[in-house]
Amino acid sequence: MRKIIGLILLIIIAVGLGLALVRIPFGTSKSRLGEYYIREGRKETGATNIVTSVVVNYRGFDTLGEVTILFTAALGVGAVLSIGRKRKNNIKHQPASLILRTGCRFLFPLILLVGAYIFIHGHLTPGGGFQGGAVVASAFLLIYLGCREIRISEKGTKAVESLAGLVFVAVGLVGLAVSGYFLFNFLPKGISGRLFSAGVIPVIYIAIGFKVGSELAGIIDALVEETE
């Protein structure tokens, strides 16, 4: 019964959406807004990666809101899982084999380096703070899977994430003080394509990279602690 009702509902939604979407051509459309960003974005922001200039510069306030959602979700995971749990500090883990441990310790700094490269070069090449942060968090996941006796400190992740969020807001407020617009790009744009270019975009994206990396690492930490 439930399946039949579900299927009928889905068919109704599918027909409605199909009728609406048949008019939208595939593979040709570009909105006027997107065209404007591609035409003027490089000149106005100095970033060669137009997606980055949209995320951090044109829609920076939007991104601040999204980072806040991420922060709230990470906080929620910590809060929900920590209710009524006693912290057990000295659990004896069966140590992993030598090959696994050495491999993890060898790969950990390299993965961190790749993550940092991705978010530092976010305004030049494909990538950015969100992607680089996810790569950094995957390095911590590797440590948790491979060398289980090592722990990252919860206070450390919280401090890094709060500092990175503060940097984002502070840059926005300085822009407000300098020119009257929140998140105004007040630093010199430089030569487009160089590492030190595009004004505040690399600063904000590095802050986002640290924030996303520490938040996802904190989520991994909370979930791993839960399994013990």
Binding site: G6, G27, K30, R59
Partner: protein, 119 residues
């Protein structure tokens, strides 16, 4: 056939969206519902990216001098999906941690059994 070829990304995206919706409507296990939510979200992301696609287009990045602006895809949906993916991961983790609490409290993940129990 050319109809299918032209709209293949829309079919893929809406296939994922409807699979996810079906799971959410029909299944009773909380973990399966979260899996459905995740599939639904993937479908929505794919749909947003494919709206901005241009036939034989490139990424909107001036990484090399010979890249033409006219062949670049729309950057706005890409910017939206970029943040949506990371937020999706965090929301998934939040949903799973809530599920852990529900299991601790009720001892079951079946929604019908949870509804029968008294708090």
């Amino acid at each position: 056939m050319s109809f299918l070829h032209n709209y293949i990304y829309y079919f893929g995206a809406f296939g994922l969206i409807f699979i996810g919706l079906y799971i959410i409507l029909v299944k009773r296990n909380l973990i399966k519902i979260i899996i459905g939510l995740s599939i639904l979200e993937t479908g929505v992301n794919l749909f947003l990216v494919s709206i901005g696609y241009i036939s034989s287009g490139t990424a909107p990045i001036f990484s090399r001098p010979e890249v033409e602006a006219a062949r670049m895809v729309d950057p706005v949906p890409q910017a939206l999906v970029l943040t949506a993916i990371v937020i999706g991961v965090a929301v998934l983790a939040l949903a799973l941690s809530l599920t852990i609490r529900v299991y601790r409290h009720f001892g079951t993940l079946n929604l019908r059994k949870i509804k029968e129990q008294r708090w």
